[in-house]
Symmetry: C2
Subunit: 280 residues, 2 copies
């Protein structure tokens, strides 16, 4: 616990390039395989002790069930106020809900003198996200940082992670949201087949060009491209860039200057070397 | 592979607070349990393609067998020059040899267009350190970053890590080196007993105050304090600070301003949120 009356955690954004959902009865074992990029653009989550509990995102109150679940699990739901400032829009494939959930767990544990380990807090946040249906693999990826490869699904006691050893500039353009729940409610067989094939190929050659090329093949084979994202990705590739779609949001991402080279007014950040962590 | 003719990796320093050696025939399974702090003071390791191979530390050529082993494993020993710049002195308990080995693996893979995953490179570096007898747990801790708890020994396929969820200022004073090999060549039973007991207590309450208090108890119970380090640690504790000894070096470390409060001319850095990573 720090000396001030609030604690803050930073959680990187996470763009999933491809994935296979892995359902399980136990939410700590459920999740997804796949790979993506964590981003220096992310979410700063501050927890304050107060009678006026609630969750605020970028100045506005918001209902965020997985955040409420982790506060409840930590026994502080009635006296914690969660104030999140996000560099990234919610619901567009950047893992903002996972970031808020994991950030709330880390900051609340710190603020209230909790004695949970990192793995414990990641497990709480992962379970809460899976139960809420807001994410399958973001929390464990965001806890790791870097360019995570999710080899086996689930919280730290069950999942297995590796990574692509690289650091790179990342650009993105967002056209809108997509519902993860809607996609997962449809026929997921093509998605699982495409995701598993992409993962096999990335494990054979764990490099950034492979990750982005396999992400593009996945988006196409799983039928997930929207027209606007496909146009942006095609334009970036035609301009010599490496680009694909964020799973799941109507968002195109590219390495280096791939989207600006294709004429888009893109935001830019970098892959994030650090995983989620308490700040000062 | 980047466009320039060199690649650089940053690897945080690592101060082990307590440990239990865990020998095994397979160096990927050998290592240590324990806990420590990774530091923003660390080592930047640059690999260049050149006919003039060799290893340079802070401007001077140095023989560093584990670095040579990883270059050999990656098939680049005859054409890689490794140039390391360290914030920390070698051989005094900061994991500089582990940092050079892991940094060389990451930078060489990047420079020569290797297709190794992070776990593969960490495994190469961990094996090389264990075989050289220069370290048991530094590499896996430095790969993770933060405040690592090493629950089970060994490279990523075998070991298990957790962490203390905190960020803090760290001070240190170094009086000289200690030989890890000499300590491990003696009777290690008291050390294993003290290390396992410290780990059990940290797992029960994974906080920074517990980590430092258990480190101090370990240094005392295992009989590893030198007179100069004991005096510095006692002075910091008498001044209200939290301090212990770096395993294994004649180095005292403290949280916050613990050593300067006790009148020492200490260096200062912070716990490092990021694990080892390729930089630009």
């Amino acid at each position: 616990m720090t000396a001030t009356d609030e604690s803050t955690a930073f959680v990187p954004g996470h763009v999933t390039g491809f994935f296979s959902p892995c359902p399980a009865d136990d939410p700590a074992r459920a999740g997804s395989r796949g790979a993506g990029l964590t981003l220096t653009d992310g979410v700063a989550v501050t927890v304050r002790e107060t009678d006026e509990s609630g969750v605020i995102l970028d100045g506005d109150p918001i209902a965020m069930p997985p955040v409420e679940t982790v506060l409840d699990d930590l026994g502080v739901a009635d006296r914690a106020r969660v104030v999140a400032e996000s560099d990234l829009p919610l619901g567009t494939g950047f893992g903002v809900s996972g970031a808020m959930t994991l950030g709330a767990a880390l900051a609340a544990n710190d603020r209230f003198g909790g004695e949970r380990s990192v793995n414990d807090l990641v497990t709480l946040a992962h379970r809460a996200e899976v139960e809420a249906g807001t994410g399958l693999g973001d929390v464990v990826a965001q806890a790791r940082g870097g360019i995570p490869i999710r080899l086996a699904p689930g919280a730290p006691a069950h999942g297995r992670l590796d990574g692509v050893p690289a650091t790179r500039r990342v650009e993105y353009v967002t056209f809108g949201g997509l519902s993860t729940a809607d996609v997962l409610a449809g026929d997921t067989d093509p998605l699982v087949a495409a995701g598993d094939a992409a993962l096999d190929r990335l494990v054979d050659a764990p490099t950034l060009p492979t990750l982005v090329a396999e992400s593009r093949r996945f988006a196409r084979d799983a039928g997930l491209f929207t027209d606007r994202v496909r146009e942006a990705v095609d334009a970036a590739v035609a301009a010599g860039g490496e680009a694909s779609m964020a799973m799941l949001g109507e968002t195109a991402f590219a390495l280096d200057s791939g989207l600006t080279d294709a004429g888009f007014d893109a935001d830019a950040c970098r892959t994030c070397a650090a995983g989620a962590h308490v700040t000062d």
